[in-house]
């Protein structure tokens, strides 16, 4: 009896296996077929719209797979699918599994035909291009689009020899968003021209931060507000690591903001930080400023969480409150602010920072391995079109149920100059009638992207690590700098030179 069972099991195993083997041979298009077949179950995954075997071309419909790390592309894909019958795009948020870049790298280097369209952040693009992941878009006439894309966004999508490989849909020049009423209380004025002077240089920012504290306010909620607005001199010059004075000044500045108590001790992207956009926040102490969540608040940016935060802070004895004046963010930061401004809606202004910085944004390119490059180009050119970008500007997005919602937040900064020009004179009511688009456009046009290297984003984060080790007192300035150099040396031995 036992024997029969065993043989049956073995046979079943062999069959499963041979099925898998056959499957993968017959469908060269989708090496995943075999397994998908055996695993056909109902999938309610929110990100999955199409069937898992969608890569198959059936009845004249070309199915594309797009990989993304953010939700914008999910909306783009849904919208595209509604207006197209011959091409359908399945957008998958691969970032949920952790390291997006690694996923893309293993897939493409592994010879995978999927994804057809690869999304990427600015910091990832140079490596993707160097490794040859992206197809040449010039062959599809990308230059025609180039005429109306913000320069730095366009350049970011070019490889070292100037071939267009990726297209960005968003421009993200950075500056400072500030609350006018708080500026009035601290400095006695609130018009963008005069306030702009407070953010002209690092010294001016430090002075402003000290004045704000004296008056019982805080200039910033966190000490990371300068992150986007620094001048991004390349990290590598002639194969040498370029740790210039400006970067060391930044380190001192961050440390001073932190150690002189010039901020509200919030961390970026946590509840206290969001809360400080809406009004008064408790002043936290030395002890609670550590970590990412300063208090036991859950729920990120929800309203409940905010209430919870205030109640908990009060229970812990943080009854002193303060108001925060400014947030250093890229153009898309206005969406974050609008979502959390609450009663302070309409009380905001925007000024440029000490340097033309930028942050975030999204780019898409076609995989070199894709067998449906034409269809993929169709999607990309559609995405970059005036019409699509106009909708993006209007805050188009899909809600949870999958229904289109328009105008949730207006004034999404896109990369399409035609659209920005069209809305140049739009006034934004949240920003006291400031013409944000024209300010953004001006800032974006000043961004110098020519000296960027592929090392910038990694060295930037390594330097960030050194800065936080220094500001928290874990390392002295010297130790932190040496730690940074050690870190670079161990990662890029033989590639980059370090001069201590």
């Amino acid at each position: 009896m036992k024997m029969k069972k065993v043989t049956a099991l073995v046979l079943a195993g062999l069959m499963t296996f041979s099925m898998a083997a056959c499957g993968s041979e017959s469908t060269t298009d989708a090496p995943s077929e075999s397994t998908a077949d055996t695993a056909k179950t109902e999938t309610t995954d929110a990100t999955e719209t199409a069937d898992s075997s969608s890569a198959e071309t059936t009845e004249g419909v070309t199915n594309l797979v797009l990989w993304t790390w953010n939700d914008d592309a999910l909306s783009f894909a849904k919208w595209f699918n509604e207006s197209h019958s011959d091409i359908q795009v399945e957008a998958i948020n691969v970032a949920s599994s952790g390291e997006y870049e690694t996923k893309v790298q293993t897939a493409i280097l592994g010879g995978e035909k999927e994804p057809d369209i690869i999304g990427g952040e600015l910091g990832w693009l140079p490596n993707f291009m160097e490794a040859g992941f992206f197809a040449d878009l010039d062959a599809y006439g990308a230059q025609e689009i180039g005429g109306h894309v913000v320069d730095y966004v366009w350049e970011a999508g070019q490889d070292e020899s100037g071939v267009q490989r990726a297209l960005g849909y968003q421009a993200a020049p950075a500056g400072f968003f500030y609350r006018k009423s708080v500026a009035e209380k601290i400095f006695g004025y609130s018009d963008p021209e005069t306030v702009g002077k407070l953010f002209e240089s690092y010294d001016a920012i430090m002075d402003a931060a000290r004045v704000a504290k004296e008056k019982g306010f805080r200039l910033f909620a966190s000490d990371s507000e300068l992150g986007y607005c620094v001048y991004k001199e390349p990290w590598v010059v002639d194969n040498k690591v370029n740790l210039n004075q400006e970067r060391i000044d930044m380190m001192e500045l961050t440390s001073a903001l932190y150690n002189e108590g010039l901020t509200a001790y919030a961390s970026q992207w946590t509840t206290p930080w969001y809360q400080s956009m809406a009004g008064e926040v408790p002043i936290l102490s030395e002890e609670t400023r550590w970590g990412t969540d300063d208090l036991a608040v859950w729920g990120g940016d929800s309203e409940e969480a905010a209430e919870d935060f205030v109640a908990q802070a009060a229970a812990l004895g943080f009854t002193d409150t303060t108001e925060v004046m400014a947030f250093g963010l890229p153009a898309w930061g206005q969406l974050v602010l609008s979502n959390h401004a609450g009663d302070t809606y309409g009380d905001w202004g925007f000024v440029a920072g000490p340097a033309y910085g930028w942050g975030g944004g999204g780019w898409f390119g076609i995989s070199e391995n894709s067998e449906k490059k034409d269809a993929a180009w169709e999607f990309l050119s559609w995405m970059m079109s005036d019409e699509t970008m106009e909708n993006f500007y209007n805050g188009f997005h899909y809600n949870e149920a999958g229904h289109a919602e328009e105008g949730v937040v207006q004034g999404n900064m896109c990369s399409n100059v035609n659209v920005i020009e069209k809305h140049k004179d739009d006034t934004n009511e949240a920003y006291g009638g400031q013409k944000l688009m024209s300010i953004y456009l001006d800032l974006a046009q000043h961004i110098d992207f020519s000296k960027q290297t592929k090392y910038d984003s990694d060295l930037g984060s390594k330097w960030g690590e050194a800065i936080s080790s220094y500001k928290t007192g874990e390392m002295s300035k010297e130790e932190a700098i040496n730690y940074f150099y050690d870190n670079v040396e161990s990662t890029y031995a033989g590639e980059l030179e370090v001069e201590r």
Binding site: E99, E101, T102, V104, Q105, T106, L109, G110, G111, W124, N127, A131, E287, W290, G291, D293, L295, A296, V297, W298, K454, S457, D458, E465, S468, S469, T472, E474, D486, N487, E489, S490, T491, A493, G494
Partner: protein, 340 residues
């Protein structure tokens, strides 16, 4: 990775008696014609073994002497000699990662073996004759079976500084007794993070070690021990003369397999402490370091990762040999003495 480790764990005490097989074969030698069937039986395994085990290991070895950067198939590969190995041994961050690994593993192996040893003493004691072994060992062994990913996620939630149940529970406990508990950032500060990782490893593995030690002791029947005790041998004499020598090779075996597994520690710290955390530099293990160079975006340097892998292997080998020597020193001495 294949659960090779879990398979190795099943050797009772590392005795591999080849002798037993010989007489069997000699008897059969006249049936030589049948012996060719052996090739057929071995063939599927050997083919798979060559493809999936031998080739990758040799390929990695080859790559470690080249300058290949990306995992590209058709990329140009140049021979680089010993450059990568030179780099490994001067790489401060590899040193750091190795040190982290050894600290996390070292604390774990001491507590794990210590606990297992104590438990073994309790359960094998001829005087107290403890009952309930089947139930206790089931419970002690349970954490070992759960996926490391589940355990890592569970503890990163339980140990969170602010919303983790452990800190919340401790706060309540202190409050009940009128004290004040200053929140410990279990995963966000250097030593608490390392010790948390060690403790979780101990929690997962002490049951396994205990079972193996117990197996060694149970090799001798209780009657035998009782007979000894009736003969007037005290329990410490019995422990020293019978029990201890029995479990010594097992202790060594546990220590060595634990070393092989421990120096390859990956899942737990990788999942519990992200690279943006300030404690990352204190908990990054050698395996995480290797992974970063093998697969991590931006820092992919396949050839270098390969040499890190082989360096790690060399270190494991050397430490294993040292361990083996240490454990066997007394035995060898005694044998030496006996011979004289």
């Amino acid at each position: 990775m294949r659960p090779l480790h879990s398979l190795i764990v099943k050797i009772p005490c590392g005795e591999m008696d080849m002798e037993k097989t010989k007489p069997v074969k000699k008897k059969r030698s006249k049936l030589r014609a049948y012996n060719n069937w052996g090739y057929l039986f071995v063939a599927p395994f050997v083919i798979a073994f060559l493809i999936f085990s031998v080739y990758p290991v040799l390929r990695t070895l080859y790559l470690s002497f080249t300058d290949l950067k990306l995992m590209k198939l058709n990329g140009t590969i140049n021979f680089a000699g010993l450059e990568n190995y030179k780099r490994v041994f001067t790489d401060k961050f590899f040193g750091r990662a190795l040190l982290n690994t050894i600290i996390i593993w070292g604390v774990n192996i001491v507590t794990q073996l210590g606990l297992a040893f104590l438990l073994m003493m309790v359960f094998s004691d001829v005087k107290y004759r403890m009952k309930g072994l089947p139930v206790y060992r089931l419970i002690y062994y349970l954490p070992n079976l759960i996926a490391a990913t589940s355990i890592a996620l569970l503890f990163s939630n339980l140990l969170d500084k602010n919303y983790g149940s452990i800190n919340i529970g401790l706060t309540q406990l202190f409050r009940t007794f009128g004290g004040h508990y200053k929140l410990i950032d279990w995963l966000g500060t250097k030593w608490p993070a390392r010790l948390s990782l060690s403790t979780i490893q101990t929690w997962m593995w002490f049951g396994n070690s205990f079972l193996m030690l117990m197996a060694g002791v149970q090799g001798v029947s209780r009657d035998y021990l009782e007979a000894a005790s009736i003969d007037g041998a005290g329990r410490w004499t019995i422990f020293g003369k019978i029990t201890l020598p029995l479990i010594k090779p097992i202790m060594m075996y546990v220590a060595i397999t634990s070393l092989i597994g421990g120096l390859q520690l990956f899942d737990m710290p990788y999942l519990m402490i992200g690279d943006t955390s300030q404690t990352y530099k204190h908990t990054q293990t050698a395996m995480m370091y290797l992974y970063r160079f093998a697969f991590g975006a931006k820092t992919t340097q396949v050839a270098y990762a390969s040499s890190v892998a082989y360096s790690l292997f060399l270190i494991i080998l050397v430490v294993s040999v040292i361990q083996y020597r240490l454990f066997n020193r007394d035995t060898e001495k005694r044998r030496h003495r006996d011979r004289r």
